[in-house]
């Protein structure tokens, strides 16, 4: 059972992160689509999900991550994005949908932080379940404003789509 799951549709990039983790002796499951990732999430029960904002086979990125959070409130979710602007990323963090947002804008720094996250998840996975934290996460999840998440997600999606046109 792996402790961290990476979902990104860029196969080469996924391979780079996976190789980095392997060279550090860390476990990491990888998936290149949301469906594949969700299947792994359900069967492997990771403590950490690292996901790109935009994934094939998914609806909007934030709603997906919210679904993950709702399934397992104590899971740590890290969002990585190369497209969303810093102001929007800050809002995502404020809403509490994800635990951390990382930009692909500074590669080495972000990559090192990702490896640290995977390392933490690996060590956490060996420890017993922290039930008070699970309970706190449930409370936090109930505070999440679904409407706000949808609005922000729509706006972010529109911005990303505009760039593609």
């Amino acid at each position: 059972m792996a402790s961290a799951l990476l979902i990104d549709d860029d196969r080469e990039l996924v391979e780079t992160i996976r190789s980095n983790a392997a060279e550090e002796g860390l476990d990491l499951d990888v998936a290149t689509s949301w469906d594949e990732g969700l299947a792994l999430f359900q069967t492997r029960a990771p403590d950490l999900v690292i996901a790109d904002y935009r994934l094939p086979g998914s609806r909007h990125g934030l709603r997906l991550l919210l679904a993950v959070k709702q399934l397992r409130p104590a899971i740590r979710v890290v969002l990585i994005s190369g497209e969303v602007n810093p102001e929007e990323l800050a809002k995502v963090e404020e809403l509490g949908i994800v635990d951390r947002v990382m930009s692909k804008g500074s590669a080495i720094e972000t990559m090192e932080s990702l490896l640290d996250e995977i390392k933490d998840a690996n060590s956490k996975h060996l420890q017993p379940t922290d039930w008070p934290q699970v309970a706190q996460s449930l409370v936090e999840r109930l505070k999440l404003d679904q409407k706000k998440v949808d609005e922000l997600d729509d706006r972010m999606k529109a911005n990303v789509d505009k760039k593609d046109r």
């Binding site: 080469e12 990039l13 780079t16 804008g105 590669a107 080495i108 760039k163």
Partner: protein, 702 residues
């Protein structure tokens, strides 16, 4: 036969010393008095006019060997005596007012050409123009006769005869003969035919350098324009004289051939200001003025097409118009046209005449007024005194002023024909002309300002749309680049890890570490650029002080500067607030600084970039100066918008053009002031006065 006899006079005389000019003086005079080959051709045209010709044909034969120029007129021609008097005595002119009466009386034969000649006031009078033929070609044949019934007098000159310094001018023997037939076509079988052979210039070629807007780039095209300026004024007096220009070889298919046609500028100008300064029966000097607007302008401003502009007695208006109260120079009339120059590619199709206010005496051009850089109306000076904000710019003013030898006898030419004699009379005349220009500018000023604002808005709006499109593309491109750069970052971490692997021998490990460190530097530099282009600058106008702006610009480029070992220094001489789309302008200036940092430099030159900010009149001027190797093929004073057409040395021009777009959007100007192997100076100017004027019209996302 010879036209003159060799004599053996000595440089002394019983009463004192006498000049004995060397033969070479003839050559020097020809070269020095007439600096431009076109003027040398024009001298022959003037001679034909003075000879009462109704037509002169200029025909270049360039495809035969040797090449030649044939100038044929139907004027009065010359007898042996008048040829000897007119041609063989440099500096003597039978046309001059000072010529002896016996010679003046001989001037007009009793035929049509003679009557025309008598009615014309000569345009040449110095007796030097013919020397200029030596500039045009190595040899010259002159055929001349007064009537078809007479034989032709043929005089033959090979100019190298005059190259011998040891001979005196009067020792050179010019051969002549009488012939019944001549090798070139004539006009009406009489007059004068001059053939210049073995031409010094390739007349079917192009001019060196970039022509001014509206000017031809071929030699023949330029000659045609100069002839047009000489003899075809837009307003009266019309003269009974036509000029044809033909050539069997041309540089450009668009080069017009045949008869010189008048300018069309007068019909197309948005504004036309006519003035007539005269002396009435009571001896009082007055001025009458009329302003004519084109139909479109009259409609736009709801003003009359024809408007009388207040004038009156010169003495009465002298004080208010800051002009002389006297009119010693005599009456004159003129016309000023406000007509923005046509786009470069359309210039020739629209008109062959460039801008400038020309001076005509009896319908024939007086040089150099209004030609080239000559600013006798003072337009450039006014522009400078108003810190560049003059409404009528030098390249928008056309026109002409007419004087006459009969009514303006005191306005005389200098001996070298480079302008009027500099005396009180000419000074008074120039003051009157400048006063008329001021009145013209005063009348059309408010309308021009409105048009200017509208035009600026249009240009600014187009620049903004273009910027939006470019920004979006750049941003998308940058985002797409991020993904592979992120991957490279990941692989670099792996490489760094490998470089620390103790299984690898220390020497190889050190090399790996060094390579990795350098790769990381490059990756981060690329990433920095991508991040810069990935952010979307705001179109909002903000008030920002120049010092803050330039500090931010320097901060944006610090990483690159330190990587390149370039010192970027600031010199803020005047810290003023600007109203600009700050983020865009900051990016544009950063682009200039990046260009300056990356400019290739000769080996051993320590790179430096200086940013200077100062106030110049109502403008804030920001100079970006580098000590790089310069931009190849870019002439001084080139607008950044034009740089794309010029090749640059290892530096992309697109970035500079984008800077121009941004600066134009911000209502500024940007140009390469100078560039050479020792460095480049680029100047960006923001007319903050103009911005203040239009501050209310700027809203974000407009």
């Amino acid at each position: 036969m010879t036209a003159t006899k060799a004599t053996s006079r000595k440089p002394t005389d019983a009463n004192g010393l006498v000049f004995r000019p060397s033969a070479r003086l003839q050559r020097y005079l020809g070269r020095e008095m007439i600096s431009d080959p076109n003027l040398a051709v024009i001298e022959f045209v003037k001679n034909a006019y003075d000879a009462g010709a109704s037509r002169v044909d200029l025909r270049f034969v360039l495809t035969e060997e040797p090449s030649r120029l044939v100038i044929a007129d139907d004027g009065v021609g010359m007898s042996f005596a008048s040829f000897a008097e007119n041609w063989m005595q440099p500096g003597f002119s039978a046309k001059s007012d000072e010529a002896p009466e016996r010679i003046k009386r001989r001037r007009a034969p009793d035929n049509e050409s003679g009557r025309r000649m008598a009615s014309r006031l000569p345009v040449g009078e110095k007796g030097l123009g013919r020397l200029a033929a030596g500039r045009l070609g190595a040899k010259m044949d002159v055929y001349t006769r007064s009537a078809a019934s007479q034989p032709w007098l043929h005089v033959y000159l090979a100019w190298d005869m005059f190259d011998d310094m040891t001979k005196h001018m009067d020792e050179i023997v010019i051969p002549y003969e009488y012939v019944t037939d001549i090798p070139e076509p004539t006009l009406d079988g009489k007059g004068t035919v001059v053939t210049v052979t073995d031409l010094a210039l390739d007349w079917s070629g192009k001019m060196v350098g970039r022509p001014a807007v509206g000017r031809s780039r071929t030699r023949l095209g330029r000659l045609r324009e100069d002839l047009n300026l000489l003899l075809r004024p837009m307003v009266q007096p019309k003269i009974d004289f036509t000029v044809r220009l033909d050539s069997d070889a041309i540089a450009d298919e668009e080069d017009p051939r045949g008869e010189i046609t008048p300018s069309t500028a007068i019909e197309t100008a948005p504004y036309r200001y006519e003035f007539d300064v005269r002396v009435n029966e009571d001896g009082v000097a007055t001025v009458e003025r009329t302003l004519r607007r084109s139909a479109a302008i009259a409609r736009q401003f709801r003003k009359p097409k024809i408007q009388e502009v207040t004038g009156g007695a010169i003495e009465a208006i002298a004080r208010s118009e800051e002009r002389p109260s006297t009119l010693r120079s005599g009456p004159f009339k003129g016309i000023f046209l406000y007509s923005p120059p046509p786009a470069r590619h359309r210039a020739r199709a629209v008109d062959v005449v460039g801008h400038g206010v020309l001076l005509y005496r009896d319908g024939v051009l007086v040089e150099p007024y209004g030609l080239g850089e000559n600013d006798w109306v003072g337009v450039e000076a006014r522009k400078a005194s108003r810190q560049g904000h003059a409404l009528i710019q030098p390249d928008t003013l056309w026109g002409e002023v007419h004087i006459s030898r009969a009514t303006n006898p005191l306005l005389r030419d200098m001996a070298n024909r480079q302008g009027l004699l500099d005396d009180e009379t000419s000074e008074e005349f120039l003051s009157h002309i400048r006063a008329e220009f001021s009145v013209f500018e005063g009348v059309v000023g408010p309308e021009l300002e409105q048009r200017w604002i509208q035009e600026e808005d249009r240009v600014s709006s187009a620049a903004r749309d273009q910027l939006r499109a470019v920004t979006l593309r750049t941003k998308t491109f940058a985002h797409h680049l991020r993904q592979p750069l992120f991957g490279i970052g990941g692989e670099l971490i792996r490489l760094r890890r490998l470089a620390n692997d103790k299984a690898i021998p220390p020497v190889q490990r050190d090399r790996l570490k060094e390579i990795t460190a350098r790769l990381i530097q490059f990756q981060q530099r690329a990433e920095g650029l991508v991040n810069r282009y990935a952010k979307s600058p705001s179109f909002d106008y903000e008030k920002v002080f120049v010092r803050k702006l330039l500090r931010d610009v320097r901060a944006q480029t610090t990483d690159l500067a330190s990587l390149n070992g370039t010192r970027v220094s600031l010199d803020i001489r005047n810290d003023r607030a600007l109203l600009i789309p700050r983020e865009f302008v900051e990016d544009a200036l950063a682009e200039l600084v990046i260009n300056a940092i990356e400019a290739p430099r000769p080996e051993g030159r320590k790179p430096s970039v200086t940013l200077i900010a100062d106030k110049r009149g109502a403008e804030i001027v920001i100079q970006v100066i580098d000590n790089g190797g310069g931009l190849e093929g870019v002439p001084p004073q080139t607008s950044l918008g034009e740089v794309s057409v010029a090749p640059t040395k290892d530096r992309p021009a697109d970035g500079l053009v984008q800077v121009w777009d941004i600066v134009t959007f911000a209502r500024g100007r940007a140009e390469i002031v100078s560039t050479s192997e020792s460095g480049t100076l680029i100047e960006v100017r923001f007319p903050y006065q103009a911005l203040r004027l239009r501050k209310s019209s700027h809203r974000s996302g407009r």
